[in-house]
Amino acid sequence: MSLLQVEALSVRLGGRLLLKDIALEIERGELFGLIGPNGAGKSTLVKALMQLLPYSGRVCLEGQPLARMSARARAQQLAYLSQDDRLQWPISVRDLVALGRHPYRGSWWRGGLPGGPGADAEADRCAIEQALQATDIDSLRERRADELSGGERARARLARVLAVEAAVLLADEPVAALDPMHQLRVMELLRARCQTGQTVVVVLHDLTLASRFCDRLLLLDQGSAVASGAVERVLSPEHLSGVYGVQAIIGEHEEGGQVQRYIVPWSCEPSAACGANERASEDQGDGSFQRGKDPSA
């Protein structure tokens, strides 16, 4: 049985259908990529999986519907990294990472001051230390989180998510604002998590990263699943032009006996996204105001 099963998932918000009838099965230890153009519904899907949005359909973890699990049990199983990296208070990196242990906190009404009975202090400490080391920010632990560079902050937030020690980690564009070196580091880190048995669902815009690091992909467009499965099948030239409206250079690079594909979006398809722009410039050219003003015409 798959670890995460999604059946007939639809999301309707404010009268708009944001996701239509998504079906998905994600295996244990898999690095699963969600791709698609802006507004395709990638973040909505992640939020629905996290039960942060109302949806119709079923989302099950090991056969158990997530909607029926307690918030605490769910928080121990699924960890979520949002796109929003604003932190209201300048807490220290270690305090930030420690927030990931919130789902394991003893309830205050059960004797229940935080960190009191019911909480396993040693397990918490181990999880936090491991998360700090895995993301290589051990030396930053006493720094204020608002004083970190973009790359450091991304790793600190990732450490916060790793500290949850959840079965499934859902990351919404974790590399969006990072330089190439930090993008690769974050993706390598996620890959390494999968090798330790964790399952990662990641939203990506960079198609080369998606192709290189993900085991399988789901391509979304306007709320519907266009293709899902093996990377080569999903990232075909037809899909790239049909969904993204771009012509891409797809190349191959051999490394250690393995052939890796890289995808470089090169030009806009005349018929798709850029068509509007071209028409706009034509209209300008035809405008009488423009023509009258142009001395060379």
């Binding site: 918030a71 990294l81 949002s82 927030l99 919130h102 960190g115 009191g116 202090a121």
Partner: protein, 340 residues
């Protein structure tokens, strides 16, 4: 290697910080018991407290000055802690019960019961109306914040709520038939803890205790809310429960205090801001120190107004506003880039 022990343990402030604030509070309380129309020495105060001194001293200390000190504690606890909690919930360092119009709404509720003579029916009518109005104002502001209002909008909405409550209060005063009543109400609105009795303390105590417990229960979730609502909820934080705890806790404790002491502003703004760095900016850990700090500030202000020689005794609310308003201005100037 771990300087702070178990990092996820949410101590309610560091023990050293809380202990020093407690010592300061107790010291100021003894000082406050000394000053007044008849200054007493420290030994006379202690003798009066334990009931071994001469009877007039016992009377002055126990019946006149002790209720005043206890009210300062309760008002400070309520304002300090609700300020810190509101700042955590709204993720806005400028949130405060007075600035957001919660105090003046409670004042309006109280004035309305006085105006319509409803307070004559039952001793609980006035505090109940104050708390109800405070609840409505808090809920309105929260709904605005929930709808994605920016920091600036929220503060402006608070100013509007405050202005509306003041306007309605003025209307009640304007239409009041008896000028003597008007003066009483105006003086009361300025905010004061002088000439209060144990009856007032008994009235406020249960609500402040209940409010403080509700707010403290919100502490762990407030910590996680620093990550934003989506990630906090992914970590198992029950957001609706958190909101109810803080709105109810603020309305109960601040509403009850305003009903007895009138509006005392800026305590909830100044105190969390001064203490935040000592708790490493953790919003949950800030609650208890802010409550203690609030009590210290109210008590210190109350002592200072008795020491400053003025033709007429200053009202407490006037002193806190005189100190707090420039502080607020400085804070706004410093954070104006974030707000706009």
């Amino acid at each position: 290697m771990q300087a702070n022990g178990n990092p996820i343990r949410l101590r309610l402030g560091s023990p050293a910080l809380n202990a020093s604030l407690m010592v300061l509070l107790l010291g100021l309380s003894l000082l406050s018991l000394r000053f007044g129309a008849a200054p007493l020495s420290l030994s006379e105060v202690v003798a009066g407290l334990v009931g071994s001194g001469p009877e007039p001293h016992q009377l002055i200390v126990q019946q006149i000055r002790l209720p005043r000190v206890l009210l300062a504690w309760l008002v400070g606890l309520a304002l300090g802690m609700s300020g810190a909690a509101l700042q955590g919930l709204l993720r806005n360092p400028l949130a405060e019960p007075g600035l957001l119009g919660i105090s003046s709404s409670a004042g309006l509720g109280a004035v309305l019961t006085l105006y319509f003579g409803l307070s004559a029916f039952n001793a609980w009518t006035l505090p109940a109306a104050a708390m109800l109005c405070a609840l409505l104002a808090t809920f309105f502001l929260y709904a605005l914040a929930r709808a994605g209002a920016s920091n600036l909008t929220l503060i402006l909405a608070g100013v509007a709520v405050s202005a509306l409550a003041s306007a309605l209060t003025s209307l009640a005063l304007n239409l009041a038939p008896n000028p003597a009543d008007v003066q009483d109400i105006v003086l009361w609105l300025l905010g004061s803890i002088s000439d209060r009795s144990f009856a007032d303390v008994r009235l406020v105590l249960p609500f402040v205790l209940l409010g403080v417990l509700l707010l403290l229960a919100a502490a762990p979730a407030l910590e996680v809310l620093a990550l934003g609502e989506a990630e906090a909820s992914s970590l198992g934080v029950n957001l609706p429960r958190l909101r109810v705890l803080i709105i109810l806790g603020t309305a109960l404790s601040v509403g009850a205090c305003v009903a007895v002491t009138g509006a005392i502003g800026f305590v909830g703004l100044v105190v969390p801001h001064m203490l935040r760095r000592f708790v490493h900016y953790r919003p949950g850990r800030l609650l208890l120190p802010s409550a203690l700090g609030g009590a210290i500030l109210v008590l210190a202000a109350d002592i200072s107004l008795r020491l400053i020689a003025t033709p007429k005794e200053l009202q407490l609310g006037v002193v806190t506003a005189l100190v707090g308003a420039p502080f607020f201005l400085a804070l706004v100037l410093r954070s104006r880039r974030d707000m706009l």
